[in-house]
Amino acid sequence: MYKFVHTVGQYVLLMRRVFTRPQRGKIFWNHLFDEFQHLGLESLGIVAIISTFMGAVVAIQTAFNIDSPLISMSMVGFTTAQSVILEFSPTVISLILAGKVGSRIASEIGTMRVTEQIDALEIMGVNSANYLIFPKVVACLLINPVLIVISIWLGVLGGWIAMEASGLVTTTDYLYGIRIDFDPYIVFYALIKTVFFAYIIATVAGYYGYVTEGGALEVGQASTKAVVYSSILIILFNLILTQILLT
């Protein structure tokens, strides 16, 4: 219990240092664009692959389970779109990003800690927490929703490709199913979740990297902790946000 309270306290104190005005605007913007590249564009490949295949599998499973002639095959499109938008893209892709982006952030900052690069920043008079973590948080908050929107498109596209290839559902039925009872609010819900999850990924990984002590072994442990705890928090907040936003 003491360890939990200590960790939360340390996290809050660190965030107070992170969320301050950057010392040099130009350096911050340069840093931010670098982070878009490292945390966003470099994640696009894995997001695209997982989303497309996920959508295809959901569509095939749904089609396989519809064995009643009373249920229209357009339900495959409906179910695929709803599943992808409500849960698969925002939550599963965020969990994937927690692994990829979270471990990258924690190991990068952790390595800087154990090689005294963070001490060097502090000695110069740089707010190292703000300099290192803030651009990553802003980049994740801005780029993750873009990745999730791409993921939703590719998930639905993957479902359509699978249905076309297998001949289980016609394109007309599939597209009609996507449009049935479509409520734009679910996209808003997905994006709200994504923003929360992006914040969790960047700050939890930043925290575990920043407080690393020791050497290479501890950097690995920090990276693992970042992925584990951000994944747990994502699952927890998924439930809380769903309760708040959908009930």
């Binding site: 010392q23 040099r24 130009k26 350096i27 390595t111 800087m112 090689t115 005294e116 690069q117 001490d119 060097a120 502090e122 000695i123 110069m124 008079g125 740089v126």
Partner: protein, 251 residues
Amino acid sequence: MIEAVGICKQFGDNMVLKDINCVFEKGKTNLIIGQSGSGKTVLMKCLVGLFEVDSGKVLYDNRNFSSMNTNQRKKIRQEIGMLFQMGALFDMMNVQENVMFPLNMFTDKTEEEKLDRVNFVLKRVNLENSNALMPSELSGGMRKRVAIARAISMNPQYLFCDEPNSGLDPQTAGVIDILIQEITREYDITTIVNTHDMNSVLSIGDQVNFIYKGQLWWQGTKDEILETTNTELNDFVFGTELTSRLKTRRS
């Protein structure tokens, strides 16, 4: 000039520094020596504010650093240059970007002025035309020299060096020592070097502070160190075959 006044530092039940009082003079290479675990790195970290002292104070030219808030400390820190044990160069930046970093962060100089300054300090440490190299492409000695160039890029008043010779061969270590001493005299700055390398002590130790079990045990110059009767210091200094032979020869 930097003064440590009654500095105490404790980690849990372990009292690491006990009432340290010493003065590090301007224009001199002030050494902190002692065995591993004696508290010299903790003392240096207390002096630069990476650790908060439990009691006592650190004065930078009579300015009480220990009682300053974060913003006041930032101003002092821009007068500090520090060379870390492993160089602590930023891995993602090349040599030029590393040296230019403090200039980008704290000055309003034009790109041309900053580049001139970078080239000047790189030339000072004999690393001309290495601007585009990445830290991973540098040898240990080159990394230290780039770190020195970065430390002096802002014309510091105070230079801290944490074990500048660790991991270097004796010849390269000698080059780094001489460079530190030359820079100290050239810019008339207060330099504090944390080391347990006796070659450094005997070549550049204008003022030597021996830390033993967290206490300031002995103070003197590099010449006085060979004549001292202090048992603990003698055990430390003449604990190796080389220095033992040196003592025999002198006696």
